[in-house]
C-alpha cells in the first residue's frame, strides 16, 4: 500500500517532465530558425532577402497544408490551386477589376476568407474518397483554377496577367516586406504548433494512423477535417496574396505544377507529424535551386527523385533524424506492474445502473451467419466473459455493440435507448470504450499521446481556441495530460510515457490500449482478447486489473481464449458456437456444462 501512496503523490512528476522537455526541445529548434531568419537581412544582400521572403511565403502555405497532409495524412496534392486563387483574388480586389478597389490589407483579409471556403471545397471529397481518388481531384482543381485564370480575361487579364498588390509603408521595401512575411510565417508556425499540441492535432494523427481507434474514441473525422481545411485554405490563399506582391506581376504561368510538388514534397522530406521538419524542408527546397543554377530546369526532376528516395528509404523524413530522444535503447527486461488501486481516480462515476442488452441479433457475412439470433446482457459492475471456438462470433458480437458492424435484425439497447447501428463514433460519448484484437496504435506518437487520444471528447476548447492557445485550451491540455498519466500509472506503463509507441512490446501495447480506454471513464469496457500474447504473470496482473475495473462499477465484456482467466475473474460467462449461445451462466455452471466441456474446453 505504501508504494501506492507514493505513486499517487508523484503522478505528474517523472514523465510529464519528459513530455515538457520534449516540447521545449521542439520549440527551441523553431526559435533557432526564427532567430536566424531575423538576422538574415542584416547579414545578406537584397537578393537573399528576397529568397528569404519567398521561403517565408511558401511556409505560410506549407504550415497549413502540413496539418492536412503531415498530420492528417490527407494527400492533397494540388494546393497550388489555392496559391493561384489567393494571388488573383488579392490582385483583382486591389486593382478594382471586380467592384471598387480595396486597400491592400482589406484585400488580404478577404483573400483569406475566400481561401478558407475554397479550401473546404477542395478538401471535402477527402471524406468520401480514397487516397488516390482524393489526390486526383485536388490535381484536377489545380488545373481548373489555372484554366479559369487564363480564360476569364476581363478580370484576370488572361495570359497577360495583372499587377500584384503593393503593401503600404513601411512594408513596401524589400526588407520591410520580408519582415511582414516573416511575422506571418512565425504566426502560422505558432498556430500550427498549438494545434499539433492539442487534442485536434492528436486526433488528426489518429485519423491518419489508426482510424478505427479514432472512431472508438469518438473523434468526428468530418468536423475535424473541415476545421483543418478551412484553416489551411485561408493561410494558403493569404500566401497567394503575399506571393502576388512578391512577384509584383502575376500570370497563370507563374503557378506551375513545380510549385505544388514543392509544397507537397517539403512536408514529406520534413517528416509527417512534425513542424520543424517541413519548415526545414521548405527552406531547403526554396534555396536549393539557387546553389545549383544549371540545374534549375531539372528542379522538378530532382524534387521527384528526392520524393522517391524519401518514400522508399527514410519515410520518417528530417524530423526522424532530429529525434535524438527516441534513439536511446530502452531497458530490456521491463515488467508491467499495474496499480489497480489508482482506478478510484479514473472511475468514480459510481455504479452504472443501465445494462447493455442484445436481443435477437442476426448478422451474416455472405452466406455465413456470424451471429445467429443472439441474446446477451452485460450488467454494470460485472465481468461478462464471452468464449467459444474460432469463428463462433465473439469479436463480431463486440463489433456489433461498438458499432463497427450493423446487424441485419435484432436490437442493441443501452438502458432504455437503442444504440444506433453502424455508428462507432457515437459509442465514446455514451461511455462505451473498447480495445482491439490487434492493438491500434499511433506508432509515431508517444505512449502518453496515444493515451491522451482516449480523452479527446472530454476537451472543451474549440479549434480556434486551440489555434490561439487560449486559456480553455491550456486547461484542457493540463487536465488531459494529468489524467493520461494516472491512466498510465494504473496500467503500469508510466516509465514509458515519453517513448514512441511503436517501440513498445506487444504486451505493453495491450495495456496501453486499456489505459486509452480508461480515459473515457467508461461505463462499459469491451476487451477483445486482452490476454493474447501475454506471459502468465502478466495475465494474472491483467486479471486483477480487470476485476478491479468492474468493482468500480464498470461493466466489462471480455472476449478471451484463456479459459483460466475467464473462470478466475468472470461473474457470468456466455459460450458461443456458430453464432449462437451454447451455454450461459456462472463460471461454475459452465465448467460443469457437458456440451461445453466436450466441444470446447476439453476433458
Amino acid at each position: 500500500m505504501a508504494t501506492e501512496v507514493k505513486g499517487l503523490s508523484d503522478i505528474t512528476a517523472p514523465s510529464s517532465r519528459g513530455g515538457i522537455s520534449a516540447a521545449l526541445h521542439g520549440s527551441l529548434q523553431l526559435l533557432v530558425v526564427l532567430a536566424l531568419a531575423i538576422l538574415l537581412p542584416f547579414v545578406a544582400n537584397d537578393y537573399w532577402t528576397l529568397i528569404g521572403t519567398r521561403a517565408a511565403i511558401y511556409w505560410v502555405l506549407v504550415s497549413g497544408l502540413n496539418l492536412a497532409v503531415g498530420f492528417g495524412g490527407q494527400l492533397a496534392i494540388g494546393y497550388v490551386a489555392l496559391l493561384t486563387l489567393g494571388a488573383y483574388t488579392s490582385s483583382i480586389l486591389v486593382l478594382g477589376n471586380l467592384g471598387p478597389p480595396w486597400p491592400a490589407f482589406g484585400a488580404l483579409a478577404i483573400t483569406g476568407v475566400v481561401g478558407a471556403i475554397a479550401g473546404v471545397i477542395i478538401g471535402l471529397p477527402a471524406l468520401r474518397l480514397r487516397t488516390f481518388y482524393f489526390a486526383m481531384t485536388t490535381l484536377g482543381f489545380a488545373t481548373i483554377v489555372t484554366q479559369i485564370a487564363l480564360a476569364w480575361q476581363s478580370v484576370t487579364g488572361g495570359g497577360i496577367g495583372v499587377p500584384g498588390p503593393v503593401l503600404p509603408k513601411p512594408f513596401d521595401t524589400t526588407v520591410g516586406f520580408y519582415f511582414f512575411c516573416l511575422v506571418a510565417a512565425a504566426l502560422c508556425t505558432w498556430m500550427t504548433w498549438n494545434i499539433s499540441h492539442s487534442r485536434f492535432g492528436r486526433s488528426l494523427v489518429a485519423i491518419r494512423d489508426a482510424e478505427v481507434a479514432a472512431e472508438a474514441t469518438g473523434i468526428s473525422k468530418a468536423g475535424l477535417l473541415i476545421a483543418v481545411f478551412l484553416f489551411s485554405g485561408a493561410v494558403a490563399s493569404i500566401a497567394g496574396g503575399l506571393f502576388a506582391t512578391l512577384q509584383s506581376y502575376i500570370t497563370p504561368d507563374a503557378f506551375t505544377f513545380d510549385l505544388t510538388v514543392l509544397f507537397f514534397i517539403a512536408i514529406l522530406i520534413g517528416g509527417r507529424g512534425s513542424i520543424i521538419g517541413p519548415l526545414l524542408g521548405t527552406i531547403i527546397l526554396t534555396v536549393l535551386p539557387e546553389f545549383a543554377a544549371p540545374l534549375v530546369a531539372w528542379s522538378t526532376f530532382l524534387y521527384a527523385a528526392l520524393l522517391l528516395v524519401i518514400v522508399l528509404a527514410i519515410p520518417g523524413g528530417i524530423a526522424d533524424l532530429l529525434d535524438f530522444a527516441n534513439r536511446k535503447p530502452l531497458e530490456s527486461n521491463r515488467a508491467i506492474i499495474p496499480r489497480p488501486a489508482l482506478l478510484s481516480e479514473l472511475l468514480n462515476h459510481g455504479s452504472a445502473r443501465e445494462t447493455i442488452s442484445l436481443t435477437g441479433v442476426v448478422l451474416a457475412f455472405g452466406g455465413v451467419r456470424a451471429i445467429d439470433g443472439l441474446d446477451l446482457e452485460i450488467r454494470p459492475g460485472q465481468v461478462h466473459g464471452l468464449i467459444g471456438p474460432n469463428g463462433s462470433g465473439k469479436t463480431t458480437t463486440l463489433n456489433v455493440i461498438s458499432g463497427y458492424n450493423s446487424p441485419e435484425s435484432g436490437r442493441i439497447a443501452f438502458g432504455a435507448r437503442d444504440l444506433a447501428h453502424g455508428a462507432p463514433q457515437t459509442r465514446a460519448g455514451l461511455g462505451i470504450a473498447r480495445t482491439f484484437q490487434t492493438p491500434r496504435l499511433i506508432g509515431e506518437a508517444s505512449v502518453l499521446q496515444n493515451v491522451m487520444i482516449g480523452g479527446t471528447i472530454d476537451g472543451t476548447a474549440t479549434f480556434v481556441e486551440s489555434l490561439l492557445c487560449l486559456p480553455r485550451h491550456r486547461r484542457d491540455e493540463i487536465a488531459l495530460r494529468k489524467e493520461a498519466m494516472i491512466a498510465l500509472r494504473t496500467v503500469g506503463l508510466e516509465s514509458l510515457a515519453a517513448v514512441r509507441a511503436d517501440r513498445l512490446q506487444h504486451s505493453e501495447l495491450r495495456f496501453m490500449e486499456i489505459a486509452r480506454a480508461l480515459m473515457l471513464h467508461p461505463l462499459f469496457l469491451l476487451l477483445d482478447e486482452p490476454a493474447a500474447g501475454l506471459s502468465t504473470d502478466e495475465i494474472k496482473r491483467l486479471g486483477e486489473l480487470i476485476k478491479e475495473i468492474s468493482r468500480r462499477g464498470t461493466g466489462v465484456l471480455l472476449v478471451e481464449h484463456h479459459a483460466d482467466l475467464i473462470f478466475d475473474i468472470c461473474d457470468h460467462v456466455t459460450v458461443l458456437n456458430l453464432g449462437k449461445e451454447l451455454a450461459s451462466g456462472t463460471p461454475g455452471d459452465i465448467r460443469a456444462h457437458k456440451e461445453v466441456v466436450s466441444a470446447y474446453l476439453g476433458a
Binding site: 495524412g73 494527400l75 496534392i77 471529397p125 468520401r128 474518397l129 480514397r130 487516397t131 488516390f132 481518388y133 489526390a135 486526383m136 481531384t137 490535381l139 484536377g140 482543381f141 488545373t143 481548373i144 484554366q147 479559369i148 487564363l150 480564360a151 478505427v212 505544377f257 510538388v261 514529406l268 530546369a297 531539372w298 522538378t300 526532376f301 524534387y303 521527384a304 527523385a305 520524393l307 522517391l308 518514400v311 522508399l312 519515410p315 457475412f365 469479436t395 463489433n399 463497427y404 458492424n405 482491439f436
Partner: protein, 286 residues
C-alpha cells in the same frame, strides 16, 4: 458538325478508355493505382514520333520499339515504385512513389524531347482531315483490338487465367504456387504496352507532347473512377462517354468551360457513388 463531334469524341474517348485499362491492369496485379498510367500513354506518342520522324525508322519498326520501351517503363514502375511499397505497412505510399516516378518521366521528356507539341507521322495516309480520317478511327480500332486481345488472353490462355487468379485472391494464388512476382511484372509490362498502343494510335490526334501525360492521367482515371476499379467494361463505356461529352461540351461552351464541366460532373458523380457506378463496396476489417 455532329459527325466531327462524334468522330473526335469517340477517338479521344477510346484513348481515355485505353488509359483506363492501363490503370485497371496495374491495379488488378498489385492493388495499386499508378500515376505512370497516363505517362506511358504520353510516351507512346513521343516515342513514335522519335523513332519514325526523328530517327527515320520504318513505321512498323517504330511501333514495335515503342511497345518495347513502353513495356519497359511498365516494368520499371513495378520494380521501382510499386514493389518496394507493397511490403510497407503504410499502404498509401504508392500514391507518392508512383507520382514521383511519373513526374520524373514527364520532366525527362520535357527536357530531352521538347516542351512544345511535336508532329506525329501519318501512319497509313487514309483520309484528309474529315470525320473518317485515320486519326479519328485508329484509336477506336486500337481500343477494339486491345479489348479483344485481353478477352482472349483472360479466357483462353493459362497465363491470362493466372492473371485473373492473382487479381481475385493474391494469397490463394500464391498458395497454389503461382509465381506472383513474375506475373505482376508481366502485368505491368502488358499495361505499359497498352499505354504505348494508346499513345501511338492517337499520336496524330494528340501529337507528341510531354504534357499529355498529366492530361491522360486525369481523363483516363475518370472512367476508371466512375466505372469502378478493375472493371474494364466500365472503363470502356465511361471512356467513350467521357470523350463524347467532352467534345460536345467543347463545341457548346468552348475549351475551358468544357474542362470545368467535365471536372464538375466527375466530382459530383464520384461523391454520389465513391465505388463507381459498376463497382462494389468492400467491408472494412476491424
Amino acid at each position: 458538325m455532329l459527325a466531327s463531334i462524334i468522330a473526335s469524341g469517340l477517338a479521344i474517348g477510346a484513348v481515355y478508355a485505353l488509359i483506363g485499362i492501363v490503370y485497371n491492369t496495374m491495379f488488378s496485379a498489385s492493388r495499386v493505382m499508378s500515376f505512370t498510367a497516363g505517362q506511358v500513354g504520353m510516351l507512346g506518342g513521343v516515342l513514335g514520333s522519335l523513332f519514325i520522324l526523328r530517327l527515320g525508322l520504318p513505321t512498323i519498326v517504330g511501333f514495335v520499339l515503342t511497345l518495347v520501351v513502353a513495356a519497359a517503363v511498365g516494368v520499371i514502375t513495378e520494380v521501382i515504385a510499386v514493389r518496394p511499397v507493397l511490403s510497407k505497412l503504410d499502404q498509401h505510399l504508392y500514391v507518392l512513389s508512383t507520382l514521383a516516378l511519373a513526374l520524373m518521366i514527364q520532366q525527362v521528356t520535357a527536357i530531352e524531347w521538347s516542351t512544345e507539341p511535336q508532329p506525329f507521322p501519318r501512319l497509313l495516309g487514309i483520309g484528309n482531315g474529315d470525320p473518317l480520317d485515320e486519326k479519328f478511327w485508329l484509336p477506336v480500332v486500337a481500343c477494339a483490338v486491345v479489348i479483344i486481345g485481353l478477352e482472349f488472353l483472360y479466357r483462353h490462355t493459362l497465363v491470362g487465367r493466372a492473371f485473373l487468379a492473382i487479381a481475385e485472391d493474391n494469397f490463394a494464388a500464391r498458395a497454389l504456387g503461382l509465381p506472383e512476382r513474375n506475373l505482376r511484372m508481366a502485368s505491368f509490362a502488358m499495361a505499359g504496352m497498352i499505354g504505348g498502343i494508346a499513345g501511338f494510335s492517337s499520336g496524330e490526334l494528340l501529337l507528341a507532347f510531354f504534357a499529355n501525360g498529366a492530361m491522360l492521367n486525369f481523363y483516363g482515371f475518370v472512367p476508371v473512377a466512375l466505372g469502378g476499379l478493375g472493371n474494364n467494361r466500365g472503363a470502356i463505356i465511361g471512356g467513350l462517354a467521357l470523350g463524347l461529352f467532352q467534345q460536345a461540351a467543347n463545341f457548346v461552351f468552348g475549351g475551358v468551360f468544357a474542362s470545368v464541366a467535365v471536372f464538375i460532373v466527375f466530382i459530383v458523380a464520384l461523391l454520389a457513388a465513391p465505388q463507381g457506378l459498376f463497382g462494389t463496396t468492400t467491408a472494412r476489417r476491424v
